[in-house]
């Protein structure tokens, strides 16, 4: 595991540390077990069981409505916000069931960050967008805030573009820059997992390329789960790919295998563009 294990401190429940493992990158950090999700009577996820490996990029692909966004929103419990959602099965992060009664969802979200499909910078300055979550966590010192804001913007490959206008509105930035502000905002509080829900779908190819480069860099420090409609994108950046269809996990394997030699006919049809 990395230096701070997920199970150690921040969750209210005390859980035993997972067994030590040499190949840290192959440790399953997040796992779902028989996860089903219902919106009222409609079942959006059907019995999903998968493992997400630490400091790897895992891509979720599949046609619209296949449940991949719904699934990713289970990992930081954003589905809690929707009325009438019911879950069955388990989602575990570092062996902690995140839907357990005594889990503090605020603490969970501090460690499982999220970047949304539609970039959603706050109507504040670039600086304040990134300082927002830090201030909430009680960081008051100007010097410390300055330092983290700069580090986060550098981490999001945005520093050189915005360093002279940190105190201007984030809404004045281009779409790609706004999305990178959102990524900088997410990494500022140093989560372990970053969930990305089609982060580049609203961006032009140049901005997409920048965001993709950034995601590849972030992999060194963060575990990334990315939902994408763009199969080339999944092929370019991810280590593992899961293919979903109609709420079911059809196939989950290394990206190489999924795109060159998938085991299932449906997967092959989808990745070669024959349906969807």
């Amino acid at each position: 595991m990395s230096d701070t294990s997920f199970a150690q401190i921040k969750f209210k429940t005390v859980v035993p540390a997972p067994p030590p493992d040499d190949s840290t990158r192959n440790t399953a950090l997040l796992e779902t077990e028989g996860l089903s999700l219902f919106y009222g009577h409609a079942q959006a996820l059907k019995n999903i069981s998968l493992n997400i490996r630490e400091r790897m990029i895992t891509a979720f692909i599949g046609p619209s409505g296949c449940g991949k966004s719904t699934l990713i929103r289970c990992f930081n419990r954003m589905n809690d916000l929707i009325d009438g959602v019911r879950l069955e099965g388990k989602v575990r992060i570092g062996s902690q069931d995140i839907h357990a009664r005594d889990v503090d969802v605020i603490e969970l979200r501090k460690r499982v960050g999220m970047v949304f499909q539609k970039s959603n910078p706050f109507p504040k300055s670039i600086y304040e967008n990134i300082a927002y979550a830090l201030r909430l966590q009680g960081v008051r010192a100007k010097s410390e805030l300055d330092e983290i804001v700069e580090r986060s913007l550098r981490g999001a490959a945005l520093w050189s573009e915005v360093k002279d206008r940190l105190h201007e509105s984030a809404l004045a930035l281009s779409g790609g820059q706004q999305q990178r502000v959102c990524i900088a905002r997410a990494i500022a509080i140093e989560p372990e997992i970053i969930l990305m829900d089609e982060p580049a779908s609203a961006l032009d190819p140049v901005a997409t390329a920048k965001v993709e480069d950034l995601i590849l860099e972030l992999k060194e420090e963060f575990t990334i789960v990315i939902v994408t409609h763009n199969m080339q994108q999944a092929a370019r950046i991810s280590d593992y790919t899961a293919f979903f269809y109609l709420g079911e996990l059809v196939e989950y394997d290394t990206t190489n295998k999924i795109f060159t030699n998938p085991a299932k006919k449906q997967t092959e049809d989808y990745v070669t563009g024959r349906f969807g």
């Binding site: 954003m78 009325d83 605020i106 909430l136 349906f275």
Partner: protein, 344 residues
């Protein structure tokens, strides 16, 4: 590609070929429609309704112009520095002696006090309804229905409510517990405090509805963005949601001020006085009011000819005061919007 050459569709997945063929057929069919654009009877209808709606709008403008013009022409002569800055000690009804400073002060004070009461209560209610309550629950529907019904209650009923609830219940009980044994009631009598609170109850629906609209217009993505960073719901509402809604909240405030400034019925029993020798000094004092004064001037005057100019001038002063309060609020809102756009 002919039908025979097309590969059979794979089971379970639509290859799209059949769909594309149907689309081609549809396109071919449409090209046979001739490219002519004939005038139809719809254009005559259109002209008629353009005229009708334009006439209705014009009518409203004419009515407004007649009312305001009449007041301005008849009232302007009565407006003077002496009239605006003196009281009614010498003679309330004589055009050469009367003034309206106490009424201007009283009306402005009660409107401002009302705003202070109504904005927090209205905003908190709207935040509850949009951010916390389940929109489909019976409880929420009952509250919403109550808010809508509140907007339809006649203003004289609010006056009676203010008298019964604020003065006779709240005020008298305050006297009983805070000043036991005192001969004169302090709280349990008409006062500018109770009049303002009564007006606040009356304008509550306006503020609630305007705030709700402003809150609903804020993209859900902003809330999710904040929550996903580990902010609590309360932090999200205070730091992200409500600041965004401030211009809309102020719009509610402006509407409330406009409605309340000219209302007389709610303050009749709750605080407005026929005559006071001095300006109100505390929240428990009564006050003189422009709208109520108009009523007094038009019904109580011993000399109609001498009173008529100040009657028009008082109405003009009331309109100008409402306008001023509105302009101040609109300027504050514009400043707020500019600030939100420019940011820091």
């Amino acid at each position: 590609m002919t039908d025979q050459a097309a590969p059979p569709p794979k089971p379970g997945f639509d290859t799209g070929l059949a769909r594309r063929r149907r689309w081609k057929l549809l396109l071919a069919k449409q090209e046979t429609i001739p490219w002519r654009f004939e005038s139809t009877s719809a254009r005559v209808d259109s002209k008629f309704f353009t005229g009708l709606t334009g006439f209705a709008t014009g009518l409203i403008l004419v009515i407004l112009a007649v009312i305001l013009g009449n007041i301005l022409v008849n009232g302007w002569a009565g407006i003077s520095l002496r009239f605006l800055t003196s009281g009614t000690e010498k003679d309330m009804f004589d055009v050469d002696k009367a003034g309206i400073l106490p009424m201007i002060f009283g009306t402005a004070a009660r409107v401002i006090l009302m705003t202070i009461f109504v904005i927090p209560v209205g905003v908190i209610t709207a935040v509850y309804l949009t951010e916390y309550a389940h929109s489909t629950s019976i409880f929420t529907r009952v509250i919403r229905g109550a808010v809508n019904n509140l907007a339809g209650v006649p203003s004289i009923v609010f006056g009676l409510f203010g008298l019964g609830f604020f003065i006779n219940f709240v005020g008298q009980n305050m006297d009983k517990f805070l000043r036991p044994g005192a001969a004169e009631p302090l709280w349990g009598q008409p006062a500018i405090l109770w009049a303002s609170m009564t007006l606040a109850v009356m304008t509550l629906p306006v503020v609630i509805v305007a705030t709700e609209e402003a809150l609903k217009a804020i993209p859900q993505g902003l809330r999710e963005g904040s929550l996903a960073l580990g902010a609590t719901k309360l932090e999200t509402i205070i730091k992200i949601v409500v600041p965004q809604a401030l211009p809309g909240i102020l719009t509610g405030g402006i509407l409330a001020v406009s409605r309340a400034a000219g209302e007389v019925a709610p303050i009749l029993f709750t605080g407005a006085a026929y005559f006071m020798a001095t300006l109100p000094k505390s929240l428990t004092d009564q006050f003189m009011d422009l709208g109520y004064h108009v009523f007094i001037l038009s019904t109580q005057s011993p000399n109609v000819e001498k009173t008529r100019p100040i009657l028009f001038a008082t109405v003009l002063a009331l309109i100008l005061l409402t306008l001023t309060l509105n302009i101040v609020a609109i300027l504050v809102r514009a400043q707020m919007r500019r600030k939100m756009r420019a940011l820091h």
